[in-house]
């Protein structure tokens, strides 16, 4: 039976969560807490590694923005033994991406306790910036009201990022401790449930009243997932119609300038050095002339569609749908829609659910003797 305690939030959700994190940080075995914090110099929220409990007054894990996927940050903290344990507060998609990276031995699950909070989504970073001018805490409050109500996060006519609207995994299943927003009485207390032994032993040492998950939680999760499923299907259908031929795909990617920001932002683009920045693509000048001659015209820089298709082939099975590719694109190409759409059949082909379990190997990292015989032969 999973152990559940209650985080009192009568002074507000953020105050309650900050107090909870202070208690966590006070434990001698915990060296630091990695949590999104409001920056002192700018209305923005960034993952921050906090060791001074005072600094937790800037923590804001509920702000409707994540300018980068925290999985990559956590791998930096865990790739080697540090001798101390860190607690990381992550979104569900960040946890899934981290699990994918652990499978690739780029991070470690040891010396790490993951706290996940039910994710209500986030705005695209470019939409968040003007909204945040009114103050992040106030915005966070308005956002939560909208997200828990009927408007599903829409504020001042601005909706959640498309990837978030289509996200069907809002519950941070891979976390050690899961803080439940969905179905909770957010005026009084939030349930925090230990999903692993590690989580349980931390929870036992905190001074929190016991409790149980609210009865409405399952129904609230199911209702949210159902709405998101419908959105996801609509998004996939629309994107498929826009990209179902090479010509259309080329038009879809027409504004791409080969900056490769999407690859940098992608938490599961796992290569330490991407082939597209190696000398494999340092072509000789005469090669460009040759291509131009053969085809009559060649767009510069070259290999734009090739780059995106290669990325899909390399990380498509691991795509967690966090939408950071769209955030990173300087020219507003709806990349998250494309990658979520095109990855779905890849994940289906191998019945693979990225980030679900450390026991499931990446599809291209294993094989069986007898499988997929339908792809062999010329009939």
């Amino acid at each position: 039976m999973a152990k559940t305690a209650m985080i009192p939030v009568d002074n507000g959700l953020l105050a309650g969560l900050r107090e909870f994190l202070r208690q966590v940080l006070a434990r001698p075995e915990i060296a630091a807490v990695l949590v999104p914090c409001q920056l002192p110099m700018k209305a923005m929220v960034m993952p921050t590694l906090v060791s001074d409990p005072e600094q937790l007054s800037a923590a804001n894990p509920l702000a409707p923005v994540f300018p980068l996927n925290g999985a990559r940050v956590v791998t930096r903290l865990t790739r080697k033994e540090a001798g101390r344990t860190v607690v990381a507060v992550l979104r569900a998609c960040e946890i899934r991406a981290f699990i994918e990276l652990v499978k690739l031995k780029q991070g470690r699950r040891e010396e790490l306790i993951i706290v996940g909070i039910d994710c209500l989504g986030a705005y695209a970073t470019k939409d968040f910036l003007p909204l945040a001018d009114q103050g992040i805490e106030e915005l966070t409050g308005r956002f939560l009201q909208s997200a828990m109500g009927e408007k599903e996060g829409e504020l001042d006519g601005i909706g959640l990022a498309p990837a978030c609207q289509a996200c069907v995994n809002p519950v941070p299943d891979g976390a050690d401790l899961i803080i439940g927003l969905l179905g909770a009485d957010t005026g009084r207390a939030l349930p925090v449930t230990a999903a692993t032994e590690k989580g349980e032993s931390l929870l036992e040492n905190l001074d929190l009243p016991g409790g149980k998950a609210p009865e409405g939680r399952e129904a609230a999760v199911a209702a949210l997932v159902e709405r998101r499923m419908a959105r996801r299907k609509a998004m996939i259908d629309a994107t498929r119609a826009l990209t179902d031929s090479l010509e259309k795909l080329t038009a879809y990617l027409g504004a791409c300038v080969n900056c490769y920001n999407c690859r940098v932002a992608c938490p599961v683009c796992y290569c330490r050095e991407c082939v597209f920045v190696t000398d494999v693509f340092d072509h000789e000048p005469c090669q460009y002339l040759g291509w131009a001659h053969r085809k009559g015209a060649v767009k510069m820089p070259t290999d734009t569609v090739f780059y995106h298709l290669t990325r899909l082939a390399h990380m498509g099975t691991a795509c967690v749908g966090c939408g950071q590719c769209s955030n990173a694109c300087p020219n507003g190409i709806p990349l998250a829609e494309l990658f979520i759409t095109a990855s779905a059949p890849l994940q289906e082909a191998f019945d693979y659910h990225p980030g679900r379990s450390l026991d499931e190997k990446p599809p291209l990292a294993e094989f069986r003797e007898k499988e997929f015989e339908e792809v062999v032969g010329i009939k």
Binding site: K299, F306, L364
Partner: protein
């Protein structure tokens, strides 16, 4: 499109299919010249990227061909290749590539006759499909 001559890029493994191609040659068997062989040490080294590049540069068909299951010189490269082809076959049709433009076969070193037969049939099939979109349209 009577004068359409398809281009087929075939990634063949050194130990089986390439040897079969060699055998077909020394046995004076003929097969269509539309096939351009790229010899690789093992089909397990064919990154999906190679296939994508070939198709985007205007190849009308791509073949990956290696040793029969259990015969791989490197023990299991062909099983890895099969997963990658599975992946590409789930990826490419989404963007309008006919799935028949990408093929995977196992042709053993002694199968010279089989090699010539497969090449003939493959080229016939690709000819039937017509030129690939990547050949006729500008690809960015």
């Amino acid at each position: 499109m009577n004068d359409f001559e398809p281009t087929v890029i075939a990634f063949v493994c050194n130990w089986c299919t390439y040897t079969a191609a060699d055998l077909a040659g020394t046995s004076r068997l003929s097969y269509p010249p539309n096939v351009r062989l790229v010899r690789v040490m093992c089909t397990g080294m064919v990154d999906p990227q190679y296939v994508l590049k070939a198709l985007l540069e205007g190849a009308d068909g791509v073949l990956v061909s290696g040793c029969h299951p259990g015969d791989c010189h490197y023990i299991n490269g062909n099983y890895k290749a099969r997963r990658r082809i599975k992946l590409l076959k789930a990826l490419l049709p989404q963007f309008g590539f006919a799935p028949q433009r990408l093929r995977l076969t196992w042709i053993g070193a002694s199968d010279g006759i089989e090699f010539a037969h497969v090449m003939q049939e493959l080229v016939d099939q690709v000819r039937e499909l017509g030129p690939s979109e990547a050949k006729t349209k500008m690809v960015l």
